[in-house]
Symmetry: C2
Subunit: 457 residues, 2 copies
């Protein structure tokens, strides 16, 4: 047993205690009342990096939520690895659906329950603990290690591109290890060949200048909810395909070989349906569900509201109706181009009896692709095969990690998925949790891959 492994075992309880402390900070990046909590989380991370024995660890401003930069010992002859993660979290609502309060972590035999447990605090803390184990037992690290943790991932990293372009030297590296994401399941690892991008917008429809009586006025003018329903309904056909003109134009056609690799991943529809609790799957019948999530774009309405939502009946015609929309994008769709296409179509279809405004929301992310035989992926595959006792799947993931595209564009560095959440851990939902076994496995995995990368880079 390597010395770092004994160290990790010896300090396992303390590490869980530290994760609990980290999870208590409600670092919700999308809500302005939590700005100070995001800052507090950043300070906590920097402090934790220093405690792990890193040479440098500091909170750096971005103009929005801050980032944390850290660095291990310099070893000029060795390659440089940048480890990425984020310390901000999704909003916890609806609060009433949580079994335990989202920011009062609850630990049972095998899991830790809290907002951010899996996405991404549990995952991003693991490489820091791995670096501590290596430092305390070998007094150095196998490669040059840089840490780059951000506080705006859940709002689409609005200031991160500018930060990266302004700090190319500081962040320069041979490969990025992404401590945000997941493995396939408890016993099956995955190498990620791509991730979808993201863009976001809001639609606001205005009718009368205030809510008015549906008896006194109903029939004389257009109800903004009716107009919104027509606009939203026109965005999809009855098979679930997006009906926005030009939406699919830039979509790269995926090779038969890659579709074959995707088809090799076992997919049990009944289990998948049961997990979601839906009676049947739905979407473009030209693609499998795995493909619809991995290599096909979507347009989803994430929220709607307008008028009376309370108990009973209120006979109003509301002054306004609203919708929030995000699109998941695939190579080579461009977030700004898609926002423009969706906005244009909504504006063109808007009836002139109401006022319709379409506003881009911050939070776009480029779609991402990476060669399956990239040296970083080979190192990951080797470590994952040893840890899990089985070869990883080669997959495209449906979620977005906006910095993937940014690291590639501005640092010329690909990002290897190297994180240990699982798809059932209720991320972005009530009762988020992280498996303690994977928290420990992630710590071992990072010690192993830092040693492994010496061979591949």
């Amino acid at each position: 047993m390597p010395a770092w492994e004994s160290y990790l075992e010896e300090h396992a309880n303390r590490f869980v205690e530290e994760l609990i402390e980290f999870l208590r900070i409600p670092s919700v990046s999308s809500l302005s009342e939590h700005v100070a909590d995001v800052e507090r989380a950043a300070q906590w991370v920097a402090e934790r990096l220093r405690a792990a024995g890193m040479e440098a660890a500091e909170v750096l401003p971005t103009g929005g939520h801050p980032v944390v930069y850290g660095k291990g010992p310099s070893i000029p002859s060795r390659p440089t690895v940048l480890i990425y993660g984020h310390f901000d979290v999704q909003p916890p609502d609806p609060l009433n659906l949580w079994t335990h309060p989202p920011f009062s972590p609850h630990v049972d035999d095998s899991r830790i329950w809290a907002r951010g447990a899996s996405d991404d605090k549990g995952n991003m803390l693991a490489p820091i603990l791995a670096a501590e184990a290596l430092m305390k037992t070998t007094d150095t690290l196998p490669v040059n290690v840089k840490f780059f943790f951000e506080g705006q991932e859940e709002i689409g990293s609005p200031q991160i591109e500018a930060f990266i372009t302004g700090h190319r030297e500081l962040l320069a590296c041979d490969v990025v290890l992404g401590a945000d994401g997941s493995q396939w399941d408890e016993n099956q690892p995955v190498v990620v060949a791509g991730r979808r991008g993201l863009c976001a917008l809001q639609v606001d429809v205005y009718g009368a200048n205030q809510d008015v009586h549906s008896g006194t006025y109903g029939g004389s003018f257009l109800n903004p909810i009716h107009a919104l329903a027509h606009l939203l309904a026109s965005l999809h056909d009855d098979r679930g395909r997006v009906c926005v003109e030009g939406f699919y134009d830039a979509v790269e056609s995926v090779s038969e070989e890659e579709r074959r690799l995707l088809a090799e991943i076992p997919f049990d529809e009944q289990t998948f349906r049961a997990k979601l609790g839906v009676r049947r799957l739905y979407g473009d019948p030209s693609f499998t569900p795995t493909e619809r999530i991995g290599i096909r774009p979507t347009l989803e309405v994430n929220g709607i509201w307008g008028g009376f939502q309370g108990e009973g009946v209120k006979t109003v015609i509301p002054a306004a109706a609203h919708a929030k929309i995000t699109c998941r994008l695939v190579p080579d769709q461009d977030p700004q181009d898609i926002v423009e296409k969706v906005s244009r179509q909504i504006r063109e279809n808007a009836p002139d009896a109401v006022s319709v405004s379409v506003t881009p929301l911050p939070g776009s992310g480029l779609p991402y692709k990476m060669a399956t035989d990239h040296p970083g992926n080979r190192a990951a595959a080797s470590v994952l095969s040893r840890l899990y006792g089985t070869a990883p799947y080669i997959a495209r993931m449906g979620g977005t990690i906006p910095v993937c595209g940014l690291f590639l564009r501005h640092l010329d560095a690909a990002m290897v998925n190297f994180s240990f959440g699982l798809g059932d851990e209720n991320i972005h939902a009530p009762d988020e949790f992280f498996r303690l076994q994977n928290f420990r496995r992630a710590q071992r995995a990072y010690c192993m891959i830092l040693e492994e990368l010496v061979q591949h880079l």
Copy 2:
């Protein structure tokens, strides 16, 4: 000047103080937290009837919000008039749009501002004050007067039909005077020949068993907001006509004569548009706006909600999406029949990839018609002509007073519109108000019509 008129003038300030006291009670019938306030309002009304010198005044149970019954002196040779109104009010939300808090009445030179000022506390208090003036100055009333005030009008009077059928003797009368509703404008009275009915329902669409990540799962199953948007959009065509099968089947064809009377009422579209703040009117082009409000039915979505409504972006596919719908009905549509037709169509159009439930909501009301030359209407026309110096319009009103149909069906008594609100008084909306001049005019009008009815009945 009759003695009652001097009495009204002498006590005008006290009457405003009493209205303020009445308006302070937040008797919101649709919200369960205000049950005790509705009861408190009932007790206040009964007490006020006793103070006015009525022989009987009591709060009676209904199984829901209570009613108040009152009675003046018995004069066997004279006809009997039942005066109707309601002491419950609409919910005040959105609270942030009120200039003054809704239950802290604000009085300026000409208006009193509060939830319920016009609908209906100001209107229903006036006949009580009129009765007091007559009692205190003549020691009797010109006719037998009964008072019947309810506390469930704003939720569609769910227990009132059972109460009326169970108290036919108590409520027996020759005609009803309705102290709920409005006049045409400040200088123009109206005789009401009909009112629309009402029915209500809620649509709930369920997808996954909880909100899920739109990256991890988006594309694999149907978003319930998308399904709801399609269902709502299918309820109207692009001219605003309702597309529910059979919706218009029972609509009575209105005579050319009655359409001519309606067309005589001046309608200035520009003023109407400006009041609402809409850029253009909208609806079935075969009917004028006045007709679309008065003699045509509607289906309006009063509220929608689902998913994320907060600041920023949250990339979820929500577990559910909801809509509240009410229809305004005209003779001879039946509320239950229309709820069934709308429900059936929604259920039949519901995609099987989501669960759709349609639930009738309490609050139906029969559409209502009344002969323009009914003795009650002739008495009203005479009083209104004298008070305003001009003959009343003959109109159909778009709003619903559910008890109209019930009085006709169970007491064989027609209800004369005899109330003094105006259409711009923001009823069911923020900043509701009542004109003090009309509060005083209503008191005089009730003294006059009680005297006038002796001639007509």
